[in-house]
Symmetry: C2
Subunit: 227 residues, 2 copies
Amino acid sequence: MAAPVKKTVELFYDVVSPYSWIAFEVLTRYQNKWNIDLKLKPFFLGGIMQGSGNKPPAMVPNKGAYMLHDIERLKQYYNVPMNQPSDFAEVAFKKGSINAQRFLTAVSMSNPDMVEPVTRELWMRVWNKDEDIYLPESFIQAGVKAGLSMENAKAAVAKIKDSEVKDKVKERTQEALDKGAFGSPIIIAHVDGKEHLIFGSDRFPILAMILGEKWEGPLVEFSKCKL
Amino acid sequence: MAAPVKKTVELFYDVVSPYSWIAFEVLTRYQNKWNIDLKLKPFFLGGIMQGSGNKPPAMVPNKGAYMLHDIERLKQYYNVPMNQPSDFAEVAFKKGSINAQRFLTAVSMSNPDMVEPVTRELWMRVWNKDEDIYLPESFIQAGVKAGLSMENAKAAVAKIKDSEVKDKVKERTQEALDKGAFGSPIIIAHVDGKEHLIFGSDRFPILAMILGEKWEGPLVEFSKCKL
């Protein structure tokens, strides 16, 4: 009997988003448990917000305050070591994540197998250790720490300004917008020729239902992060 | 050995909100499974949105479109028979839910044990059968169907304009705002003298973690609704 065909699950994400980190960790834990082919697709959340007309949640004060508590609790539940950056407005709005997302896209083009560990290193920098994810040397450090050679890390950083990479990020962001995105993460499950879009990191049991798989909770035993 | 003291869980909700219906059904299913004292607290979502500066999600077109799919899937998963009203803008913004919430509040003052079934009937009207929840006769029908005597149903409807009832809804809405609400539902778990606020119907495993209880999924076998 032939092995059943793997169902494709795409994860569109931006490392500025802590809820995206949860989805990233949960889906990478489940990629060997469920019969899925997980495609990691870095996109640009700023472009999603602008294109969809959505506003950052923390613009509503009660929502911003809530998110701090929410993230603390999700951190425990999912074993994803999120710590609020000391100046999130600077990270998210002044510097922004476009460089980081272009760097990840360059890695996805040159070293596709390394996107997962390099992405995780960027999240560890910004959402765990309160470190920069804007400067070239930050990307080189993250890349090397994740297992890229120094040469490949430098080559990926050098491509941040290449139109090929810039266009790829734009195209992927537009693709997500066209499919209905209004934030990050966006999960798209492909089942029997149909696409099922899921927003956020709150619908894993629903994703399991769509895929015909079993949701077994956050699988902290497979965590590659430490709290 | 004395029975352990029940932990209080408050549910602030408005029947205009389908996500609140999910929280209502799930928590009423769990109220006999977990060691909790569930307090149903009808409030006014319009006042929460205005007071917190939040905007209805469907004002972002991609978000509005997403919610239709999301609700369809949650309906299956939670066995809560939600059907989109034919003219939700009229229900939510033109007529509004203030009458419904005042009616429920009047019931909570005169017949506290009946709040659960009467609330369910209002949700069945608006979010299942596309029926009115604005006119006095609608409340009388819902109340009687839920098990109130005709006399008590009429008495509760008569109190919709009483300042005692109006003030109670205002006070409860303000209470929720002061505690950090920016939408509906708001769940507040009281554990060891601390209050834990949860927004939405996506955090039941987190609620279980806070309460020291076990989340066992949507418990559709205890559903009082039919799909």
